[in-house]
């Protein structure tokens, strides 16, 4: 087969937000492919993620949205807030549709029907599509190494249908499918599927990374790295859901930071060239998981042993990242040192009155 030239877009990596002691974001791209006028909830985490992602990608971008919040809430009456070409696909066919778009552009360029640089093809699937229903097709797209970026915006449940458990819902998370009660006091008994690591292990030729909306510049840089990578890339991004997590809307970004700081959502990159994990990302400080849990209503039913179990899970994550654990976190993994949520809330109220 004759070789053909594909003109590619290379997106520059943004600088560090902190210059010495000064907090100042780097110069951000001016294009705005995601515009206001959509009907996600106030303080929507996936929406923050969508905006940052599309801003990082720029105007020559094609967005693909399998069924999920970003389709249901955003494209009612056939009106979308997307300022670039956007298409909705079936929830199960996220990967195959994306692969099709990428392959079509390759073919059009080969045949000379598309002039100009290869577009950024981004599929933004919710965790329902990415971890349950569309897992097979996404795995296929990654395996065949189409030049695209597949993002799982991980709000840890099926949110647009009214908060049902997905395989990414954390241990202890309350959803309508995992209600806590006398038989199952913790709500959800299973630990979440380690989706990003599964993708990295199964498709080692792909760029795989995790990110969180709490670290916007890191997130935007990972999107750009994924798009600059020749071949398939996969990102899993933590995006809090105000309805499902039951928290005050202003805490969206704060939760994105806290989940990393308490170790429940390790941020890492998979380096496809050297085939190693890069665990060099470190949050500013480390906290016990209870600080993260107490902000959210979905964990309000947890007992001491459940919090300790989650702390043990977080400690394992820290160990896996090669971080030395402070004694306070090891101490917190013992159920005897934890209070259940209601008692902790009461104690805090009493402390306030004193």
């Amino acid at each position: 087969m004759a070789t053909f030239e594909v003109e590619r877009q290379i997106l520059p990596i943004l600088g560090s937000p902190n210059q010495g002691a000064r907090f100042y974001n780097p110069e951000l791209p001016s294009s705005e492919p995601f515009v206001p006028g959509h009907r996600t909830c106030a303080g929507c985490g996936p929406s923050i993620q969508y905006r940052m992602t599309s801003k990082a990608a720029g105007d020559n971008t094609i967005l693909i949205g399998p069924t999920g919040c970003m389709y249901v809430a955003n494209s009612s009456y056939l009106c979308t807030p997307y300022n670039v070409p956007w298409a909705h696909t079936q929830i199960g066919s996220a990967g195959s549709f994306t692969a099709g778009v990428a392959a079509a552009y390759e073919a059009m360029i080969r045949k000379g029907k598309w002039k100009g640089p290869f577009p950024n093809i981004i599929c933004e699937a919710g965790d329902g599509s990415a971890s349950d229903i569309g897992l097979a097709s996404i795995s296929g797209a990654l395996y065949r190494n189409h030049d695209c970026l597949i993002i799982c915006y991980d709000n840890e449940q099926y949110a647009n249908t009214g908060i049902q458990a997905s395989s990414r819902t954390p241990y202890g998370g309350m959803t309508t499918f995992s209600p806590p009660g006398p038989e199952v006091p913790e709500g959800k008994k299973l630990f979440p599927k380690d989706l990003a690591r599964m993708m990295a292990a199964g498709h080692p030729h792909c760029y795989v990374a995790t990110a969180s909306v709490g670290y916007p510049i890191d997130l935007m840089n990972k999107v750009r790295k994924g798009l600059n990578h020749r071949g398939a890339a996969y990102l899993m991004i933590y995006t809090p859901c105000q309805k499902g997590f039951v928290y005050e809307t202003p805490r969206s970004i704060d939760l994105g930071r806290m989940v990393v700081e308490c170790g429940l959502y390790p941020i890492w990159e998979w380096n496809p060239e050297r085939r190693v994990y890069d665990y060099s990302f470190r949050p500013q400080n480390m906290r016990p998981v209870s600080e993260y849990l107490k902000l959210q209503g979905r964990f309000g039913h947890l007992h001491a042993e459940h919090i300790a179990t989650l702390q043990q899970f977080a400690n394992d994550q820290w160990k896996m990242m090669g971080v030395e654990l402070p004694d306070a976190l090891i101490w917190a993994a013992d159920p005897q040192n934890q209070m259940h949520m209601a008692a902790a809330a009461e104690a805090e109220e009493v402390a306030d009155t004193i």
């Binding site: 002691a21 106030a42 009456y77 009106c79 807030p81 916007p216």
Partner: protein, 610 residues
Amino acid sequence: MSTKGTRIPDWLKVPFAGITPGPSQDKGQNLFPTGNWRSIRPVYRDKLPPCNNACGTNEKIQGYLDLVKRGKYLDAYALIKEDMPFPSVTGRVCYHPCEQACNRGKYDEAISIRAVERFLGDLGQSLKHDVVEAGPSNGKKVAVVGSGPAGHSAAYQLARIGYKVTILEKSSKAGGLNRGGIPDWVLPQHILDREIERLIELGIAIKTNCEVGKDVSWDDLKRDYDACVLAIGLTEPNGVRAEGEDKEGVLYGLPFLRDIGMGTSKVKLGPRVAVIGGGNTAIDCAREALRQGAIEVTMITVEANTDEMPCSPEDLHDMLEEGVDLWHGRALTAVLGAGKVETLQLHPARFSGAINASPITINRNVPAERFAVDNVIIAVGQRASIDWLPQEFKNERGTIKIDRFGRLGDTNFFAAGDIAQFGSGQPLMVVNAVGDGKRVAFNLDKALRGEPLQPRTVAVDVIMDLNRMNMTYFPHFPRAHQSMLSPVTRRKTQVEVIQGFSEKQASEEAGRCFSCGTCNACDNCYLVCPEPCIARPERSNGLYKILVDYCKGCRVCIEECPTGCLEGVPELDFDTGVVRMDTAFAISPGLHGRQAEELLNLASRPAKDI
């Protein structure tokens, strides 16, 4: 579905294009103005940073630190010059109330604001032409009596407005307390000379050796000038009412420093010197005594400990480093000796009131201490010398009687500086005198133009509190320290003790500023908005705008604003100045109405158009 960038078949074009308007980058998807979901609206409102509030002359400290951060040194210098005529002087001598008030001081260490001010002042000194120019002349003449901080400031501000200003100075050199009260090793004379040259460049005439009451009378001032600012300061030293205070070898703090500063000192100090008093002048006297040849210097204060002393703690620390002894809780009751000071008699004493300006209680029932010295310097405050002033304008404190605008009755005479602030609760410091001079100058201008005057005390707006800011964005970072001469080398020379910042240090130090309560274009609100409904025409302080048609009131921007400039306003309970959204409810009939009309007309249109 957006139609932009998609090729739509002709047969689909009309109904779909009619129903689904494409979004645009500037207007958004205006079919869904989601602003009517909101109950709380974010509003940008710049608040007063604590440093600006604490500064005696309300310098825009946060403003110039922000400019230094961005490398705009000349703009920063111009901003400082609005309120402060001589940043190179205050950058050396100020007791920096701004740093005590700095919010960063409650977090790690306060910003070294004075050092940055000095950096800017030294930059201004090196300029060939100053950034400030005299205002367009209004033909009126004003006399300023005294060329100390307050007089300097008043003359400077009046010249900027456009007055023809003459400064009357009784000494042979202009500068007042800046020259006579501050030793050379804190403020080198050439720095002050340059700042006074700047005044002459503004068109201000300085008459030295011209004392009011001797060379010029009250009536002369009234006749020759349209208005007059009396910034005569407190020039006469207080005594301690001890026996034998008139003996040879007894010196007074301010004249001692003044004669050295003016170059007319004939004093030869013996090896053992005692300093009476615990204020800044006393500290300067003690340190100057070392430089004038004293070997053992002892400071004797009535205050029971260092915390009570009315002085700058840094200067006290530097003084102790230079080897001055400090005695507390004693008062000088008699100076003993045959014609010359030989021994001091000390009794235990304390302040009988709560504040240290209250009367002193001396316990004479215990035996007195004797302390052998060669000289004693008494530095326990100053008073005014106003014999020439008409009796009606004198008050019971021995200073000038003024109203709250700084005016003497209904004359065109104004008083500023220590003479006006003594006893008013304001600290008698250089920066406070500068601020007073500035405000009185503006009042004088208003009085001559027949406008209502402003009170000398400034009304305070909301001062930004640390609790309302987001500290996540500010990592701990140590303060840059100015280098100093070592105590051993500096105690014998007149060389400046504290060294200035380099450019790198100054910009690094300014970078530590939180910009409390004030937008500094960090772009964080713009980046974290989920809508995104925060727009900015360009990235610049305070140019951010919230598209109220879309803002759902989630308050993420308020929570994530590092400086606390954003605040939430309940949507149904507006303060004045907030405009109610005008289109969130009104937009739909227009757009929907147009579409409904188009759909109705579809049937009547020829098929080939559809």
